[in-house]
């Protein structure tokens, strides 16, 4: 591959992808650094690490996106809250927070009442921070979230390929 010349004018982290990759690798390294033994094959260990990696992926994605988006803000807030509450338990569902679902804002409800649960409800559960959004913003956030998730998956897959070979 051709060696590239990096002028100082090229900004380092201009894309969400690169920012996410940097942040995620950094977090991965930090997680791997905490491995006590090289052959820690215990499932519990792996499970714990897996959770940490997952959170790291979400958080690094959210920080790469910034605070512009409601879902990234929600993820970062969740992380801050978890860090404040408990140092060890990193992953915690926001079930203790009352969800103010604005039912009257759930527009097009008649078209979404399928399979018992409202589709907008399902979407709200899936998209972080979606509980308090009206339908219009929810759809916009979903679009951006899907984009970022795809980027995330691609980057992680590439990293996994690199690391596993």
């Amino acid at each position: 591959m051709n060696p590239k010349r990096f002028s100082s004018s090229t900004r380092p982290s201009t894309t969400v992808k690169s920012r996410f990759a940097c942040g995620f690798l950094r977090a991965l390294w930090r997680i791997n650094r905490q491995r006590r033994t090289s052959t820690s094959a215990s499932s519990r260990e792996i499970c714990r690490r897996y959770l940490r990696v997952k959170v790291a992926a979400d958080v690094s994605m959210a920080s790469a996106v910034g605070s512009r988006r409601a879902w990234s803000r929600a993820i970062l807030l969740r992380k801050l809250r978890n860090q404040g509450q408990n140092g060890t338990v990193r992953v915690r569902r926001m079930s203790n927070i009352p969800r103010m679902r604005k039912r009257n804002i759930c527009g097009n409800k008649c078209t979404e009442e399928v399979a018992g649960t409202c589709q907008a409800e399902q979407l709200r559960k899936l998209v972080p921070g979606g509980e308090e959004m009206d339908m219009c913003n929810l759809l916009g956030e979903t679009a951006h979230y899907i984009e970022c998730l795809t980027t995330q998956v691609n980057v992680m897959r590439r990293i996994a390929e690199i690391l596993s070979t």
């Binding site: 940097c22 090289s38 897996y50 979400d58 097009n108 899936l126 998730l149 996994a160 596993s164």
Partner: protein, 366 residues
């Protein structure tokens, strides 16, 4: 029929004098009699235009104000496209070509009387200038007539209003054709335009125009635009037309992406480094003593990002040391080809931002 009517109307419109209205009306009545005796064969006949049973028409005619008699072409002009609309819905609510109800007729008659009584003087003054004015009005309101059937769709439930709506239209159309009009009709047009109770809003066909529905419509359009965006994002959604199915697809896609992230993070967590890596051990032996392979090759990509994030840009020296560190590793064929490419980029780096280096190398990879 029409030519007769036209001639009558023209003759009347030409007449400037109000004093001769009595004579006119008489003439009118005679003509109308004649016309109305003939049964309507098609919509173009005057009686069909009138859509009155004879008795009712005669009532109108015999009312004290003569000019009333003319009006009312409820059905459309044959020459105007709106004709069909009118005929289509007029029969729909009355079933025949007769006037829908006496009550409506009387209402209108009352209206005319109001005009006629109050407007004698304006009538006289307006008569001479009216012909041109009306023609102008006609020209200025062809769009109105076009939009009227659209808005009239809304008013189907209110036949009175509809009919009032139609009447001035037809008046104008007939004028347009040059058939002229009676003084009364001219006045009627002007009066009716002022007295019409509804606001002329250019609503789209079949859509309401109050503020709530406008806001609702704007909101719906926003949501539809976002849905279209989402459809493009999610593969395979562009063919689906129903919103419920599209939402299902979107939900499935988001769920699958999240599951993929979880799988990959599990994979990353379970990846065993071949050798344990230790930053201290990496940095300490800067000499070539690391060629023994104890150094985890997989550490290299992990470690590189660390350099930029030291936050200290003066650590380029350290970075170069790092390069020197890894150089012996590259000779080994078991190194990942990708590592070599990344290293190449690192090597060529003479002076630059370390973060930019890293990101660029990642870009090459990714």
């Amino acid at each position: 029929m029409e030519p007769n009517l036209g001639t009558i109307a023209r003759s009347i419109s030409i007449r400037p004098n109000r004093e001769e209205t009595g004579l006119e009306s008489l003439q009118f009545r005679e003509e109308f009699h004649r016309l109305m005796i003939v049964p309507p064969e098609n919509g173009s006949s005057f009686t069909a235009l009138l859509e009155l049973p004879e008795t009712q028409a005669m009532e109108l005619l015999h009312s004290p104000h003569s000019d009333k008699g003319v009006m009312v072409p409820f059905s459309g002009d044959p020459l105007h496209g709106i004709n069909d609309d009118n005929k289509s819905y007029l029969p729909s609510f009355n079933g025949n070509l007769t006037f829908p109800s006496n009550k409506v007729l009387i209402e209108r008659a009352a209206k005319f009387s109001v005009f006629a009584s109050g407007e004698h003087s304006p009538e006289t003054s307006s008569v001479p200038s009216d012909s041109s004015a009306n023609l102008e009005k006609v020209k200025s309101e062809p769009a109105e007539t076009d939009s009227n059937p659209n808005s009239s769709q809304l008013l189907v439930s209110d036949p009175t209003v509809n009919i009032k709506n139609q009447r001035p239209e037809k008046r104008k159309e007939r004028e347009k054709k040059g058939k002229g009009c009676t003084k009364k009709t001219k006045i009627e047009i002007s009066q009716d335009a002022e007295k019409l109770p509804y606001v002329h809003v250019r609503a789209r066909r079949g859509q309401a125009t109050d503020s709530h529905s406008l806001a609702e419509r704007a909101r719906r359009e926003k949501i539809n635009a976002r849905m279209k965006l989402l459809q493009e994002l999610v593969p395979g959604c562009s063919k689906i037309s129903s919103t419920a199915l599209v939402l299902d697809e979107i939900i499935n896609h988001v769920q699958s992406l999240q599951r993929q992230v979880e799988l990959l993070s599990m994979r990353l967590a379970s990846v065993n480094p071949r050798v344990d890596f230790n930053l201290d051990s990496l940095f300490a032996p800067e000499s070539g003593s690391l060629a023994d392979g104890n150094f985890p090759s997989m550490v290299s990509p992990l470690l590189w990002p660390e350099i930029p994030f030291n936050g200290n840009r003066q650590q380029h020296q350290q970075q170069w040391n790092f390069d020197a560190l890894h150089r012996p590793l590259w000779g080994r064929e078991e190194d990942n080809h990708t590592f070599i490419t990344m290293e190449n980029s690192l090597l060529s780096y003479d002076s630059a931002n370390s973060a930019s280096l890293h990101s660029n190398q990642l870009k090459m990879e990714l």
